[in-house]
Symmetry: C2
Subunit: 453 residues, 2 copies
């Protein structure tokens, strides 16, 4: 095994359970709150748009939750995903570090998103729901849900941010190839959309409100979210569980586990099984969450209650936030442009278990191109942040003469992001500036909420 490039598992080794970190967290996590009353939000607050099975997972205290057979059967289309030893990159960096990456780009949608899209579609269909609605920006999540709904025999309705709809027609084609109906948002399909009909580009906030409106107003339609919530992070733990088994085969234990963070699901997916092992007294590791310097939620945000969406429709969630109506500057890592982060990930940062780092756009693309030119795979702009951190760790290990074991999550390929590479190679990519003044203003507009520890 020692000289393999890819460490593979058999389909029988696809995890049978998802790992729920909640019962292992120190202390009691702050609950989400109902806006207005500031009472803890309960299942009833979520029932209009989510099926009870997912609400139960959202609030579960069980350390493991069984994966339904039908979901595991579909996982077989691309799971277990390979764990690569980046030997060529190690040689290029002349480092004694051992660099491993888990590659989630082998899914039909090209990212980790189907890991949760498939069970979300499954539980909704089991609850008698025939259609899911969602929003999508660049299209990663919309594609994954379109794929999952098709395999479950359900309809899928996607509200795609107008500017993306206009600029990225192929992402729309991909969703339509899987049978989804894609609306340019703002659309004429919803009250929220019609009220914003003159908005030239649309926004994720408007698209979310359209998707939620469709779900809330139709008993046969539910809403699906691609990150942030506990049940979404839960589903992604198949990634980390496989990585644990694969590193055992390689006879290694990671000294550092790295992922990029937008809403937090791919990072949690790879990190949680290792975090739980450490919290239970197992071997220690460092955990590094990477975000864009243009949207530095974990490194520069405020730890407090805020809405999960731009329009202020969700329960208030305890998290690092830049203010829910803060608009981050445009960067090509569209999946990382989120004002908040998953409460679970934020809590781990707050507790000092996870370290956060922010990178500028050009330094992430420099890392992505270096990776493509040694390992072959062209990464999506989001995991390029994780690659940047992995390379920095490997260079530190060289300075220290340290056989550091580095694991990162390569959560998707960049086949749909080549316009960004084009801009980088042409020297036209800007390191967009983060505005602390705008963040402060956005935070000042938030309602009073209980302070967090």
């Amino acid at each position: 095994m020692a000289d393999e490039t890819k460490i593979l598992l058999a389909e029988s080794e696809i995890p049978t359970h998802w790992v729920n970190l909640m019962p292992d967290l120190p202390g009691t996590p702050a609950p989400p709150l109902r806006p207005g009353t500031l009472e803890p939000a309960g299942p009833d607050d979520l029932a209009p748009i989510f099926p009870m099975a997912l609400i139960e997972q959202e609030m579960s205290a069980e350390p493991e939750i069984a994966i339904p057979d039908e979901v595991r059967e579909i996982y077989r289309l691309w799971r277990p995903t390979p764990l690569y030893r980046a030997r060529r990159l190690e040689r290029e960096l002349d480092t004694p570090a051992h660099i491993y990456y888990k590659y989630e780009g082998t899914s039909p949608a090209g990212s980790h998103k189907p890991n949760t899209a498939v069970p979300q579609a499954y539980y909704n269909r089991e609850a008698g729901i025939g259609r899911l609605s969602t929003e999508t920006g660049a299209g990663q999540w919309g594609s994954a849900l379109a794929f999952a709904c098709r395999l479950m025999g359900m309809d899928c309705e996607v509200f795609m941010v107008g500017s993306s709809y206009d600029q990225k027609p192929y992402r729309r084609s991909l969703m339509e190839t899987w049978g989804a109906t894609v609306h340019r948002s703002p659309s004429q399909e919803t009250e929220g959309g019609r009220a914003q009909a003159s908005h030239p580009t649309g926004s994720l906030g408007i698209a979310i409100s359209e998707a939620v409106e469709v779900a809330a107003g139709d008993g046969g339609t539910n809403y699906a979210l691609g990150s942030v919530l506990n049940h979404v992070l839960l589903h992604q733990t198949v990634i980390g569980q496989e990585a644990v088994a694969q590193l055992v085969l390689a006879g290694e234990h990671p000294d550092v586990v790295i992922g990029c963070v937008g809403g937090g699901s791919n990072f949690a997916g790879i990190a949680v099984p290792f975090v739980r092992d450490m919290l239970r007294g197992g071997r220690k590791a460092r955990f590094v969450a990477c975000e864009p310097a243009a949207c530095p939620t974990l490194t520069r945000g405020s730890y407090r209650y805020d809405f999960g969406d731009t329009m202020g429709m969700t329960p208030l969630m305890p998290m690092y936030t830049l203010g829910h109506d803060f608009v981050p500057p445009p960067v090509h890592a569209g999946g990382l442009r989120y004002h908040g982060d998953a409460p679970l990930v934020c809590g781990l940062v707050r507790a000092g278990v996870v370290e956060a780092r922010a990178y500028k756009q050009n330094e992430t693309f420099e890392a992505a191109v270096r990776f493509a030119r040694t390992e072959g795979i062209v990464p999506a702009p989001e995991p390029a942040h994780a690659i940047r951190a992995a390379i920095d760790e490997a260079l530190e290990a060289r300075e220290a003469g340290d056989e550091r074991v580095i694991l990162f999550n390569l959560c998707g390929h960049g086949h749909f992001d080549l316009a960004a590479y084009d801009a980088y190679l042409a020297g036209e990519l800007e390191d967009a500036e983060f505005s602390e003044a705008e963040m402060d203003a956005a935070l000042a507009r938030l309602p009073e909420t209980p302070a967090l520890a």
Copy 2:
């Protein structure tokens, strides 16, 4: 193993040799001829643009040729590729057939092309060559060679057909991400290009002549071709050898082996190991080569000597041809728009070992979308022809109540071809007409050459 979706091999099972079918062919294959003298072409005719190791492979009578360790090491980045059992498609078609597909889209370039790009770059580098030149239409081959040259530490110069360069900038970005220099053809870099400077769209013929001119005029630069030639087909036999081993694990033998044919390399890659086994007295199978009805070389072409390139610069090759200056109508399966086909494949069709079928564009996309909606993977337009044939075989098997074992080569994904899906889903795809009159005229323009048996 019986219920696995993907049949996987270990990296140690990557083939150690390529399979050369030449010594097993019945009779003596007609040799390529020097234009002008019509004498058999020899190594000297190829030496200005190819290294001797590849010329020896081109003319070899050895039944197996060892794969260099360094090439096998790079193959590990994506090989062995998975063999899928298409259980979901079987259920959708309600067929007793067993459908298997070999998936070559897992390579960094997204197709089977790197299987030959890597050894071609390797042998050139070993011969002291520092740069390869080539042409590319849609960009599949140019991407693969850019990737291979980068991993071998060589320069790569790609002449990209002008209309593709303008319409598919992301294919160019992909090649540039791997460090290649990409010229819009006709370019100012060559005499051939400058002579055609006013040509509005360019053509594959012009791009080939530019790439060959660069190689012929520079001792440090050679030329690389992505299909048609014996050594290219040879390198692709890793596909079929792995499929043989994977079907043994599944306890199956194919009744029919299917691939699409443009130049013939992916078809030969999957078929040759099974063909050889049959020619040596092993189990029988049918072999089906699928081509576009808009460019029906094998089904409607003339079996005779013709040039391999549009400009008439190559040796004359014995093959089915539509005439080397015949221009097929535009179809989205750009990789199948070739006037001829590999002499090896043509010889097998002529001998009745391989059956050829032609499909129209809309029926191939109907099959591709059906496949994407059941198996998840969105195929490239080229292997959609193979999917069409596999579905037809499975439906015939249902009629016959026949547990037919069908194997096809899914030689690449469609992530870079979503504009074609967009046109198909919008009902705007035309079933381009093939012009028999234009073929007849093109054939009439050919020089007199010896007749073929």
